[in-house]
Chain length 337, copies 2
DNA sequence: CTGAAAGCGCTAACAC
DNA sequence: GTGTTAGCGCTTTCAG
């Protein structure tokens, strides 16, 4: 194993000089720097992570806690995770992958042991048991998601309330007056993950303002569940011409069922989805949708964290503005029959 | 921050005693152990990761390198990653998440810096540029996937050759004589990721033995691509009654198109998929399938790695035996017309 | 069964 | 602009 001391010797300088060349924390003459860099390259030197962490009390590691449970849409989580890892590397940090399994203990373990300098939490519950620990951890953290009480916390999330509003606005502007919301699985609401409720809030408030009748039904994914849900909706509100879907695994079943019933999209009914771009584009009907900006969320989270670690940055909530892209699944409401 | 020294003082013993209580590397009297454990709990002590790594030259971290690219089926990767993280924790290891972005450099960086004790690589190419580095790294590693040359490497993967064979066997036993294979996107074959080719090898060899006519067509995901591919297949081999699909994003489009053309599944045509259980179960027709055992692969990989780190364990290739589950998408071939 | 003490490789004062 | 050196908190001989 190549050590800093060996590099120093090879370059004919002292250990501290090598250290400072690496950190740039004091000015080094060009010639010295080049000799040192040359030695580093020749010897294939990489600073020892443990020693560095011990001496500087900074591990240059960011912990990312992902939910163990996979009833959230997995590709989104993965996309966020990859964006986090990539952005972190760009700032000189590595990423430690923690699953929700350990629960709050993981927070304690990681912060107390100095394994990570900071953490990012995904899938935050409204009343998350990890939050008190974070506030008292003495280490920066960023939540992806929005808990009920955000005091002392930094959060990044899509503005789901605005997202809901945007969806009805779009449908209303096309003349739809009866809109049904295909929600997440009941379990998601029971967990109080927040985002589902917030979308609903946005949908409801805007519907009221615009005079749209709104019907909300949670829905497990899959064909069978969707069939039941759709039947109930059309039974209760036969005049429904607009659908808002916030459950990726219900999207394709819904489209198939509508087709099967002879309801053309978008001629007879319009569908707006809240989902990742990829899902919207690959669906059997290209979907008008509000994208879930997974990459952006991951990137944002890391950047705020790095800012905090550098002593800049503040505690606050960043809600990314939703963007609705019109595709082939939405159109003017059919003339009332 | 609570240190080992503080624990020692609190318990009225020496630092080394505390250390040995923690590691169990020498016998401690029950009373001493209990006093120490009590102090640890009272003070909320967690050993400093950096110091421990420095002193023991073991970080207790396993690096997991996931592909940056996401044209592989993402949920499978995520499932593997989570299984890796969970299993690793059960053995006292944490997981460092590396993306393919850095490429071979990441291998060098992580091993040379002692950041991780070992690595797991996903999405291995047949001729992967990271392999030479791994062989000379002096640190254990496990590949999930199978490169061309496995000497000096440990690999875990599904036995895709056997998987291919199993699929034709099933269809042949039901009387199907003309089978079409909907393959992965052309890019996957061009990258030589191995698994796609191996499935094909298995399919071909077994088809020959069983007198099944096989037609293979790569296919991008999505409805449009699938429509084109299906048309070509049926044009070329109108008598096709069996389909093997190895591209999750082609599954649903295929089913929809067959339905649309009035070909009933499984009465007119049978479909066998190579895909995660979840996809098979949630499809519009419950699919007869060979599952991709993501969890098992992740768990296996970690366990082999831990064995190596403990000085047990050898270099070898573990191919998990495929299991075909019969569901609603396959049935007897229709009588020849 | 327990203690004392020498590092592990690096950072960051403190000197010059 | 560079060198010297005292730790960082832990593991692990070496003693007893």
């Amino acid at each position: 194993m190549v050590t800093l001391a060996e590099v120093a010797q090879h370059a004919g300088v002292s250990a501290s000089t090598v250290s400072y060349v690496l950190s740039g924390k004091r000015s080094i003459s060009t010639t010295t720097r080049q000799r040192v860099e040359q030695s580093i390259r020749e010897l294939g030197y990489h600073p020892n992570a443990g020693a560095r962490a011990l001496a500087s009390s900074r591990s240059n590691i960011i912990a990312l806690m992902v939910p163990l449970r996979t009833d959230m849409y997995v590709p989104v989580m993965m996309e966020i995770a990859i964006a986090v890892a990539t952005t972190a590397r760009a700032h000189g940090y590595d990423v430690l992958l923690l699953t929700g399994e350990e629960g709050p203990d993981a927070v304690r373990r990681v912060t107390r042991s100095g394994l990570a300098d900071a953490m990012i939490l995904m899938d935050v519950q409204l009343d998350d048991e990890r939050l008190p620990l974070l506030r008292g951890a003495g280490r920066p953290s960023v939540l992806i998601g929005l808990p009920a009480d955000t005091t002392g916390l930094t959060c990044v999330d899509l503005d789901f309330t605005a997202t809901g509003a945007l969806c009805v606005e779009h449908l209303a502007s096309l003349g739809h007056r009866d809109v049904a919301v295909i929600g997440e699985a009941p379990a998601v609401y029971e967990r109080h993950t927040g985002f589902a409720e917030r979308t609903l809030d946005g949908l409801r408030a805007r519907s009221r303002e615009l005079g749209v009748r709104l019907l909300h039904r949670p829905c497990e994914g899959g064909y069978d569940a969707m069939a039941v849900t759709l039947a109930r909706i059309l039974d209760e509100r036969p005049g429904t011409t607009g659908f808002v879907v916030q459950n990726e695994s219900a999207v394709e079943p819904l489209l198939a069922l509508l087709r099967q019933q002879g309801r053309a999209v978008p001629e007879d009914v319009s569908v707006v989805a809240v989902c990742p771009e990829q899902v919207a584009v690959q669906a059997s009907v290209r979907l008008t949708s509000v994208a879930i900006p997974a990459q952006e969320m991951g990137r944002h989270a890391v950047e705020r964290l790095v800012a905090k670690l550098d002593g800049r940055g503040t505690d606050d909530v960043v809600l990314l503005a939703p963007e609705l892209t019109v595709r082939a699944s939405s159109g003017p409401a059919p003339a009332a029959s």
